[in-house]
Symmetry: none
Subunit: 224 residues, 4 copies
């Protein structure tokens, strides 16, 4: 049940359901803030409660368990990430190259490509090694993205003998996205998101020589 549903629900506890959802969202937000600030292992229920200006009891009341709260946070981030590139595809035309270019561009949108979110995501990812639940969510999120990428590359490589295989192309793009993400976030950024985006497009032009013109158009659209 999300906010929209909650608002629709007729009577008399409608406001209660909404309030509960808002509270949950607030707590998820506070948790993200704390993980960003203190790190995953230093994030305590007390700190979350303090940041949200509520008592510790409230946190447990809404999520039963700290672990369950963290899982919700991870799912929230996963959905935010996935929604982002899916909505990019949605507005694209049918041509695979358009979809691919828009996916790449969406990866550098400030909505997902910002220090806080990515830092928190990596924190979960680093801990996932020993947490099956995290591993599952992280893995699934990655897989969905990877297979979409591979699917698009396969269409783009069909009948083209002069370049790399679809698998290589997909991996190269995904790898670069990861690497550039890191570069954008940590350190004093060597690249702006826009520069990073252009870098990926450059590689794509090499791998998909037939689409060079289209890619070039997207590259130019970044200038504005």
């Amino acid at each position: 049940m999300d906010v929209a549903e909650a608002k629709k629900s007729t009577q008399p506890h409608r406001s209660r359901a909404i309030q509960s959802l808002l509270r949950k969202q607030q707590l998820i937000g506070s948790t993200i803030e704390c993980i960003d600030q203190f790190g995953l292992s230093q994030t305590t229920v007390a700190k979350i409660a303090q940041h949200a200006r509520v008592s510790q009891g409230v946190v447990i009341f809404h999520f039963q368990t700290k672990d369950l709260l963290l899982e919700q946070v991870l799912r929230f981030l996963s959905k935010e990430y996935t929604d982002n590139w899916k909505s990019a595809i949605a507005v694209a035309g049918e041509a695979p190259i358009d979809k691919l270019c828009l996916i790449v561009m969406s990866a550098f949108s400030p909505k997902v490509c910002n220090r806080k979110n990515v830092g928190v995501w990596y924190a979960f990812w680093g801990a996932s090694q020993s947490r099956p639940t995290y591993q599952e969510v992280c893995g699934q999120t990655d897989n969905e993205f990877s297979s979409t990428l591979l699917c698009l590359c396969t269409q783009l490589c069909k009948g083209v003998k002069t370049s790399v295989s679809a698998e290589v192309a997909a991996m190269a793009i995904e790898g670069m996205l990861d690497g550039l993400w890191q570069s954008c976030l940590f350190e004093e950024p060597k690249f702006s998101p826009k520069e990073a985006n252009k870098t990926v497009f450059e590689l794509m032009e090499l791998m998909f020589p037939l689409q060079k013109n289209t890619i070039e158009d997207y590259k130019h659209s970044l200038k504005s």
Copy 2:
């Protein structure tokens, strides 16, 4: 001071110094084991001591603090990783393409490309967001590798107009290594290290068309 130095040191407590070093190495090993098994945040001094079959006091005695121990573990992993690709360069000839190919191959050697080490490394990396010390070590390790890669790519791209820029090439390679590492380790491996290695070589052939024959030779050497 490492073991070699300790052994050379003439008297009188030579054996003491060695024993102390061995104990430290043992504890670092046990710590890696525990991080792999339980995760970074669930790794306690008690578990480390138990795994090493010593008392908790010993751990503190040799490393003063749990945090200092973890830092040593991270530095150990960092050195192991860096030594690995540096020694690969050392045996290569002068030609940049040889160095690059050997670096790539070294990245898939079982010494560093194994579930345990990489999992532990990522655990530190995920926590580095809120730990300046980790961030520094991780960052420096990465930077050294990146700049070496970029340097080699720059030499390979010099005078070649038909392909991507050196920066793009270096990023693409590094990104793929990261991505393929992940793929090799987590999940039921989609690729064997050898397959992954070939995949990288394929991309390199596209980016460095003049070196195609040399790369092909290295690719074939993988079959044995």
Copy 3:
């Protein structure tokens, strides 16, 4: 905020505030008991909690830190001691000799002159050498008493050439109080508090010959 204030505070968590204060007082009491029984350095949070029949967490919850708790205990004793002689002055008339006599008598009241309180006070005092906070509280408490004593002696010595200076008189009285305190508490008491009190009055009669009659009256009042 003390209990009185807490009780006055209108709603809504009045009882909560009171309960919290009572708990703090109880814990301070238990701590004094433990210090008396085990000594300052052997007083652990566990023992305090056990004596108060609560969990260890409660102690930390209310005082954050063992050191902070001990500081509160010291301040409590300091206030108890200071309040005692100040209220003695309050009920006295204007004449300095009356105030002085009542201060001296108050020093032997069972409220402050009992084995437990004084033992605990000396424990803090002995540790104050290396604890700036203790030193400050102890010093301030002593200073306030000393200067009051000196002030009264100065008034009593004004114009009297035949005796000692005010400084000597004040020191002699304070020194005797300290010494007699010790005697009353430790060892099998050589003197009862009443005898001790008389002894101090005897010295005062010598130092303040003009007040002999008044002092004599106070001395006789001890007999009942």
Copy 4:
């Protein structure tokens, strides 16, 4: 066995016995230093050993137990203190007033009246409440001094009706010594030892009017 005896002991381990004694003295000295610096409860075997530049094992080897070492330290301080006033008596003539004056003066000699020694002494004294051994040593040391003082006062008061009783006189003197000690040591000293000494003599002149001239002589001897 002290150093003198040890040196006399013929052969062949004479030097060993001496060395052992010197080591013990060194360790006692280091312990005093540590107590002064860190406080009694923060003085650990490790710190003592470090200060003495020996290993921890040596400390235990020579004193069996930390507690036994501390006891020796206390006895050392006690003896130093007692020896000080006893040797003062030894050089005095037969007259009680001479002995008394010299005892008082010895109390302000830098040998015993220095921040470190007195601070450490009070540290033991504060802990004695819950340590029978300390209590015994401290009590005995005090008692010996008190009774000597009382004995001298008794002789001085014999046949003198105009002043206080011997008990009061003895207590007043001892109390003032304690109080002035404190004043000399802690705080920015209100009095120099010499001023303090004079203050005690002033009180004595009042209590022993027949000895006024003699006391006056001692008082003047302080000026040089």
